[in-house]
Symmetry: C2
Amino acid sequence: MKPGTKILSPYLLFLGDIDDPSDAKLASGVVYWRPQMCAGQFRLPGCRADLGIAELSLADAKAMGVRSFVIGTATRGGTIPDAWRTTIIRALETGFDLVSGLHERLSRDPELHDVAARSGVRLIELRDAPRDYPVATGARRSGRRLLTVGTDCAVGKMFTALAIERELQQRGMAATFRATGQIGILISGGGVPLDAVISDFNAGAIETLSPPAPDDHWDIIEGQASVLNPSYGGVTLSLVHGSQPDAMVLCHEAGRLHLDGLPDYPMQSLKVYAEAHEQAARLTNPKARVIAVSLNTRQLAETDARLACELAEAELGVPCTDPVRYGVEPIADILQRW
Amino acid sequence: MKPGTKILSPYLLFLGDIDDPSDAKLASGVVYWRPQMCAGQFRLPGCRADLGIAELSLADAKAMGVRSFVIGTATRGGTIPDAWRTTIIRALETGFDLVSGLHERLSRDPELHDVAARSGVRLIELRDAPRDYPVATGARRSGRRLLTVGTDCAVGKMFTALAIERELQQRGMAATFRATGQIGILISGGGVPLDAVISDFNAGAIETLSPPAPDDHWDIIEGQASVLNPSYGGVTLSLVHGSQPDAMVLCHEAGRLHLDGLPDYPMQSLKVYAEAHEQAARLTNPKARVIAVSLNTRQLAETDARLACELAEAELGVPCTDPVRYGVEPIADILQRW
C-alpha cells in the first residue's frame, strides 16, 4: 500500500474455507479491537473459523454501507485459493475495495486488476513494499510519542499499544495508535507495513507515520521485535530512531526462556533490554526512557502473575502490568501526569 | 540482482556522454581496485569523463573477450538517457551482459528485455531488490570476519576493506572482500546490495554473503553508515548482527564536524562510536572488538594527519592509519597474529 493510504470501513471480513481458526488472526484482531468497523463476516462452505459476528451476503453488506472486502486470513503459501476466486471477483464487482494481507500480489493478477479497474475500486495490499518513503532526517518533531518495545517478537507490543490508546481516549486525552504491522494497519485503517519497506527508508517511514502534532497529543506507536534480536534487531533500531519516543513500555512474555525460534539466544534480564532500548532511543530523543513494563502472563496462574509483575517492578523501578489481566491504568496515569 | 549472481569480467565501462567526471564514480572505483577486470572504456561524443584506459569499440571489446557492458555512471534521475539507448542495445546484441547501477529498472523496459532475451544475455541490476534472502538465525559460523564500521556515511569503509583484503592476500593469507554496496559489488563481481533489501531480510542477506569458511580465512566485509546514524542506523545494525565480526575497524573522516547532511547531529568522540559498535556486535559474537582506526585525512596537511592518527591511537588504545597515506600494514599485522 502507498504511504498515506486509508482503508475505508466498515469491513466485510472474508474467511474463505479455512480449516484452522487460528489462521483468521488478522480478522479476529480487528473484531476484538474495532467491532464497530466490522459489519460482518463472509464464509465459504466448510469454513471452520467463526468470528461470532453477523453472516452477510455481498448484497446485504452493500446495503449496510460496507466499503472494504477484507481477506482476513492466512493461507498456505500466501496465495489465493482457486475456490475463493469467484467470491473475490464478485466482491470487487459489488463495489468493495479488496484488502489483502496475503503474500501474493493482487495487482499482478491480471483478472483482479482488470475487474478492479472496471469496477472503480482499489486493490489494497497490506504487505506491499512502498518505494516512496523519504530517508529519515532525525529532526525533532512536536507532540509526544510512546513506543512499545520488547524482549522479543510476539510478546504483546501491538496489544499494549492499542490498550494504551483506548485508556487515554477514555480519559479524554488526545492519543493515536500508529500501526507498523498488518493487523495494526487493518485495525487503524492505515500505517506502515514495516516488514515490507526497503531498509534505507525504514526510519524515514516511521517519521512519516508519526508527524509533528500538538504538544499534548500522544502517538502510541506499535513496536516490532527487539534491538537485541539477531534476526530483526536492525528493523527495531530503525523504528526506535524514527519514533524518537519520549516514553517506552517494555513488553515481555513471562516464562519465555529464549528468543522465539532461537534456542542459542537465552532471554536476558529485563534490565538489559530496557537499557538497550533507552540507549538506542537517546540518539534521536535524549530524554527517552522506559516508563513501564507490560508483562504477558498468559502462561502463569493468577498468584504467579501478580508475583511476576512485582518482581519486574523491583528490577526496573517502574510499574508493571499485564494489559489483559490488569489493564493499563498505571501506564495511563504516568502519561496523564506528563 | 538475485542472491549469488556473479558478474562476469572483463568489463567494458560505458560512460555515455556525462558532463561531470565525478558521475563516473562507479567506473573509476573498479578501475582503481581492479584494473585487470577493465578491458576498456566506451564513451559517446561530448563525454567529459575519462578513466585513462583503452578506448574500445564494441567489436574490439568482443574480440578481447569482454563479458559485461557496465553502465558505470550516475545519471540525472537515475534513468537511461535516450542518446545512450542505441549503444546499449547494440552492446546487448553484441553478446554482452548489461550491468547497471542506475535506479531505473532495466527489466521493466520491454525493448531491453526483448533484446537481451533474444541475444541470450543477462540484465544485471546492481540496485535490484532481491526477495529471496532468508531471515537471519544468528547461528555462529566458522571462519574469521572483519567488518569496517564507521562514524558516518562516506568516510572510507569500502576503501579500507579493499585495502585490507589486498594487503592480506599479498601476505599469502586467505581473505575475501565481501561487498554490500553497488561499487563494491562491481569490483568483486558479486555481493549484497544492502540498500535495496527488504529490512526483515537484511541480517539474513549478510549471513548468506559471508558463509562458513575455513578457520584461518578472513572475510573482509564492507560496512555501511553507522549504528549512531539516525537515517541508516538500523541498516548498520543488521549488517553488524549478520556479520558477527571478530574484528572491526572504525573508519572516520578527520575534520568532519557533524553527520553528513545532518547539522543537528554533531560528531561525537571516537570512543562513543567504537563502544556502540562493539556493544551491537557482541549480540552475535561476544568476542567482537574494534582493533584499529582507519582515518581518512584527506582534509589535513601531512603533519596534521600524523598528529590526528596519534590522537586517535591515544584515545582508543589501538593502531590508527590512513589507508591512502600510510597503508594498512598495522591492521594486517594484527590479523596475521590472530
